[in-house]
Symmetry: C2
Subunit: 453 residues, 2 copies
């Protein structure tokens, strides 16, 4: 009996895909990275399916690459040669939604925005909203500790994760955390699994915190600037004034141009940056007026202020188009650096200088309120991976980020893409600790090998 036929016997034939035309489509995420060839793809329907896969993988020493919707931007779900891709998108049941306790218990394949919508029927919301939230899964969000647009006010995925059900490398199952708001029994294993990119265990359920949904539509402004530095200064002013925006996004000219070329948003020749801000507070309209004033005081050429839910949605729509607009320009290396918020203007100037120096096209959007920037390096679609000048520019970007006290990745994760710079940020002692922790959970090294650490 071959290993694969043993796997088929342990599950069911329709859950194990081996046709390489099919398995190839599960081998990549949204990076350009060339995957290895999977042995098989398992479509897990239940926790017991995951248990069966991990027991089998342990017995046969086969690497397992867990996968949500494949929307990752760091290569975390890229198949490795001879692995089983463990696809979790069929485990998509919201097992429980308790308005009284303001929690939900969900399977990993639930689409993030679907959970948010389910919560809103009870006046609640699921706060973390990565740009991909209409297509990405909770499991993938947990694996990468995804951020999003609202996290300037509500925090990242980790801040909404209370407890997890996890299948370990050898198929044993543990429950971490709790369904209470607080709890400090034992080490914080929930926090350890969140962001570990499938290298420590496979999350098969999560107890997540819901929050009270705002009772009003988010009052929204969009401000156009003729200078990036002025836009960044407006960000600092908005934070310093205590406006507590629920969204604060910056788009540079290259991004706006890509959107304008695609959808014609009437971009002015002189516009260098756009700032979009929202307040979902009860006094949101007053706060948004204040934010608009601060934009004007910092040099904004024009500020639009929403006066209805529909207008607010129109203003934010521009931001939601950013990623797709860029993908129309060419292949993209999407970066994700984060710097102390006060250094946002400096970082933006660095990025512009790096683009000029290396002769590469960089388009940048930023979760400005968090100091989290996504410089996107656009390159020729005919190339299989970024040309040397793009890597050189990225390398310089990372070095400048770390000099400023920043981090290589604010919300996308290390995956495969940032492996070569990881040690620069963590250092040898932390690397040793990472390896030690990995060894505790996965002594055979079969869980998503080569990722995250």
């Amino acid at each position: 009996m071959t290993a694969i036929s043993e796997l088929v016997a342990a599950l069911a034939p329709e859950k194990v895909l081996t046709d390489s035309d099919v398995t190839d489509s599960y081998a990549r995420d949204r990076t350009f990275l060339e995957p290895g060839k999977p042995l098989a793809v398992v479509l897990a329907h239940t926790r017991d399916d995951v248990v069966a896969v991990m027991r089998w993988a342990t017995r046969h020493r086969v690497p397992v690459v867990p996968r949500g919707a494949g929307t990752g931007l760091a290569g975390g779900a890229t198949a490795v040669e001879g692995c089983v891709v463990l696809a979790l998108h069929r485990m998509a049941v919201i097992r429980e939604l308790s308005p009284d306790d303001e929690i939900a218990v969900v399977e990993p394949g639930v689409i993030t925005a679907d959970l948010d919508r389910a919560a809103r029927e009870h006046g609640l919301m699921y706060a973390p909203d990565p740009s991909s939230y209409e297509i990405s899964t909770i499991g993938g969000n947990l694996a990468t500790n995804a951020g999003g647009l609202r996290c300037v006010k509500y925090g990242v995925t980790r801040d909404s994760a209370l407890g997890l059900e996890v299948v370990l490398a050898d198929g044993r199952v543990i429950n971490t955390g709790r369904r209470t708001v607080k709890g400090v029994t034992g080490y914080d294993l929930t926090g350890l699994f969140v962001g570990s990119e499938g290298t420590l265990g496979v999350i098969t359920a999560a107890t997540v915190r819901l929050r009270r949904a705002p009772s009003v539509y988010p009052a929204t402004i969009a401000a156009e600037f003729t200078s990036l530095r002025e836009a960044a200064a407006a960000v600092s002013a908005i934070i310093a004034a205590g406006c507590q925006p629920s969204l604060l996004e910056l788009l540079d000219r290259n991004t706006l141009k890509a959107i304008d070329d695609w959808r014609n948003i009437g971009l002015e020749e002189s516009t260098r940056a756009m700032l979009i801000a929202q307040s979902d507070a009860v006094d949101g309209p007053a706060v948004s007026e204040r934010m608009a004033e601060l934009c004007t005081a910092n040099g904004a050429a024009f500020v639009a202020v929403s006066s209805s839910a529909q207008e607010a949605a129109q203003l934010i729509e521009v931001r939601r188009m950013a990623y797709e607009a860029k993908e129309r320009l060419g292949k993209c290396l999407v970066e994700d650096v984060c710097v102390p918020r006060s250094l946002l203007p400096d970082m933006i100037e660095k990025i512009e200088a790096i683009a000029v120096k290396h002769g590469v096209l960089i388009t940048t959007v930023a979760h400005a309120g968090d100091g989290n920037l996504h410089p996107v390096f656009v390159f020729d679609r005919a190339l299989s991976e970024p040309p040397p000048e793009v890597w050189a520019a990225a390398d310089e970007l990372f070095r400048e980020t770390l000099k400023m006290g920043g981090t290589l990745t604010g919300e996308h994760g290390v995956g495969l893409l940032k492996q070569r710079w990881l040690a620069m940020e963590t250092g040898p002692i932390t690397e040793e600790i990472h390896r030690g922790i990995k060894q505790v959970f996965d002594p055979l090294g079969i869980l998503n090998p080569g990722k995250a650490i």
Copy 2:
């Protein structure tokens, strides 16, 4: 050269205390637990002092018990026989406070309320506020992942910890996390150290998040109920109505009686419970009126609503007296269970039934908005530890808590006190993982042995 003289030589004579009259005073926290005899107490002034202690301890295989202000309630800082108590309260410098980045970098001995006051000079606050915050240290708060009164709105200590400087068991130093708002490089070691009760490393500095301080005084209400269940129902109603209180505390009659006997607060004979609630939102006065209405609708006999900062302070003062008032009644076993918020009324009834069944005095305060209850078992001051009926009552409390999907400790930690119940919550697989993680950081088992896990 003896081990101790080697330690004195590595530091400075005045930093190493060996007189047992003196060392005894560093051997306990605020539990009744009988400590072991320390070899010495080290008063660390700098990170290098901590490095020297850990190198020495590794060489000589001497256990080290890190200690903040000794205000812990679970025995986490209880000296073990033949240990060095590593006292960190002299490392009390706020190294940096950046209003632009809304962060501070602090040493572990900084008093929590002092950091909050320093932040308020810049319109910011340090949100976590354990009841002991005027005497407890940030280092101790981090070690236990302390909660507090405001965490119903602002989260626990972990939610404010961005990065740590940690001295490892062998004296090496690592920096975890970051000074940015977001960041997902590598495993979440910051979260792992927070709440690990000094068993994985010694925190010598922390980068913490500050938040915008409310611009108004917190609008405050105090409601008196003739039934505990009605008070608990009011809690649920306040949460369900989306009031988002910044504090929501429940005091039972036994607690109120202890306070009244001490300070005469004019307690009515019929009062069974008091609920104190605050809103620090911009529309706080309106929210507090709404909370008052919900109390009345749920049966409150009387509701006081603050109309000035002074009145608000008076109303909350009762809560701050609770712990001291109880200590006047006898020795206290302070418990810290947390249940899903919706089960608060059930838990409160269980506690009353347990008190009757075992014939023990239990006084309860609760961070009601979090479902976190502190049932305090009062026993005879002449006894060195709780009598059997108190342990039996506590045992039943824990079993009922776990049946409800709750946790043994919401914010105090496991320390020594909850060791014997720990496995009931975590189970054998998680225990094995805990031991594996401990082994990675502390292979010789010298860091606060016997605590936390």
